[in-house]
């Protein structure tokens, strides 16, 4: 009986020590690991769920030139003043046992086309290398005009079964360029 009690005491002490020195006791966010991804938990959780603040900002449409295509003058590297580490919400429960598969699926020809990840293309873009521009008078025949910039004062006319918009003395034929609605400046159909 005495031996059993001694064993139980030893067992309790040993298990308590193992529990005390267990690695999981010192769980805390691994800021270094998080920062290898460009977005932090705090940035994502706030911006993702706070969608109500999004605004249509239609008034900006006429000053935008191209949104989806990045400007060629954009610097290749991030600015030097950018902080080396980004803010991390240290109150977030983060699993330290991060799974990093660095050699999985290295196929650089896959998913380069935004098939699954693109936005909605709210910019003007290009058509066969030619820039799609905002509406203005005096455009030459063949010019491409963003549908969102067509004045509401233009009228619809149909000639030979084809629909056109007439703005002043100019005619514009609508069509879909991929999933973007655009107008092409055309000669008078009459």
């Amino acid at each position: 009986m005495k031996n059993k009690n001694r064993f139980l005491v030893k067992f309790t002490v040993v298990t308590a020590m193992i529990g005390l020195f267990s690695p999981s006791v010192s769980m805390k966010p691994n800021a270094q690991a998080l920062n290898s991804y460009s977005a932090t938990l705090s940035q994502l959780s706030v911006s993702l769920l706070n969608t109500a603040e999004a605004q249509a900002q239609r008034s900006r449409a006429n000053v935008r030139t191209s949104t989806r295509a990045r400007p060629a003058t954009r610097p290749a590297a991030r600015p030097a003043t950018r902080p080396a580490t980004r803010p991390v919400n240290r109150n977030v429960n983060v699993n330290r046992n991060v799974n990093v598969n660095r050699n999985v699926n290295v196929n650089r020809n896959v998913n380069v086309n935004n098939r699954y990840y693109g936005g909605h293309g709210h910019g003007y873009g290009h058509y066969h290398g030619r820039a799609i521009v905002a509406f203005t008078s005096g455009l030459i025949i063949g010019s491409m005009v963003a549908a969102s910039t067509m004045p509401a004062t233009c009228t619809t006319v149909v000639a030979n079964g084809i629909s056109y918009r007439r703005c002043g003395s100019s005619y514009y034929q609508p069509f879909y360029q991929g999933d973007t609605l655009v107008y092409r400046v055309v000669a008078s159909p009459y």
Partner: protein, 240 residues
């Protein structure tokens, strides 16, 4: 030490270690994503609504946000309806057994294409031939887990999204990061995701939150395009 004592000690150690999480099995991000997309694949009919917010940094350091409200109905193998309202867009897309229709309500124009009959093949066709991207295609394709290719992945643990406990995982390749929140439990549905463009110096991103209706009342008439009064058909040309 007697044998039973050794066994008892070993059992105690194992139980303690298991309790510390060292032996706890953690699902890999790829497994979580695969389960989520396989769950989508397992549904013949479903619907969801999504709020998409494009965050577009401007040259003066501000961020323009453009919101889109999207409603999706899927009836496999060949019927799809996507309605999008938002910034400069009020469009309905229909796929009905081999005919793809885009209808712009604000302009009263529509365009139609003949496509393969299944949703997967039709979405591939309109993208590859015409450059048409279907909104939220990643939640519509039946085999998205085979299509998504990334170099690295991470499991950030669990996080609450709209009151639902979710696995928070992320994937990255040299073009973009995708952060995904997948509901835990029997219905591993994608609750939200964020796509971050890595090709610029700023963090252009698209955030999407999803509300699922896996028991939606869906009828054939939901996928039938009826020409609105006065609407005119226009041509669809390739964007390439």
């Amino acid at each position: 030490m007697e044998l039973y004592k050794k066994l008892l000690s070993a059992t105690g150690v194992v139980l303690l270690l298991a309790g510390t999480g060292l032996f706890a099995e953690e699902q890999s991000p790829k497994d979580i994503m695969k389960k989520a997309f396989e769950y989508i694949d397992s549904m013949d009919q479903y619907a969801f609504k999504a709020v998409i917010v494009d965050h577009e940094p401007t040259d003066d350091g501000k961020i323009n946000k453009y919101r889109f409200d999207v409603s999706v109905k899927v009836d496999r193998p060949g019927k799809l309806r996507v309605d999008t309202k938002g910034y400069l867009r009020d469009r309905s897309n229909y796929l009905n057994n081999g005919v793809y229709t885009m209808m712009d309500h604000g302009f009263n124009y529509y365009g139609q294409l003949k496509t393969p009959e299944t949703i997967d093949d039709a979405l591939d066709y309109i993208f590859e031939k015409y450059g048409i991207r279907s909104p939220l295609a990643q939640l519509i394709y039946s085999n998205m887990h085979e299509r998504a290719k990334f170099v690295t992945s991470k499991n950030f643990g669990t996080m609450m999204v709209d009151g639902i406990e979710c696995d928070y995982i992320a994937f990255s390749n040299y073009l973009r990061e995708v952060h995904i929140w997948v509901a835990k439990g029997d219905e591993p549905l994608v609750k939200a995701y964020s796509i971050i463009d890595k090709t610029g110096e700023d963090d252009y991103r698209i955030n999407t939150s999803v509300t699922w209706d896996t028991h939606a009342q869906i009828s054939d008439s939901d996928f039938v395009f009826r020409v609105p009064k006065g609407a005119e058909k226009i041509s669809v040309q390739s964007a390439y």
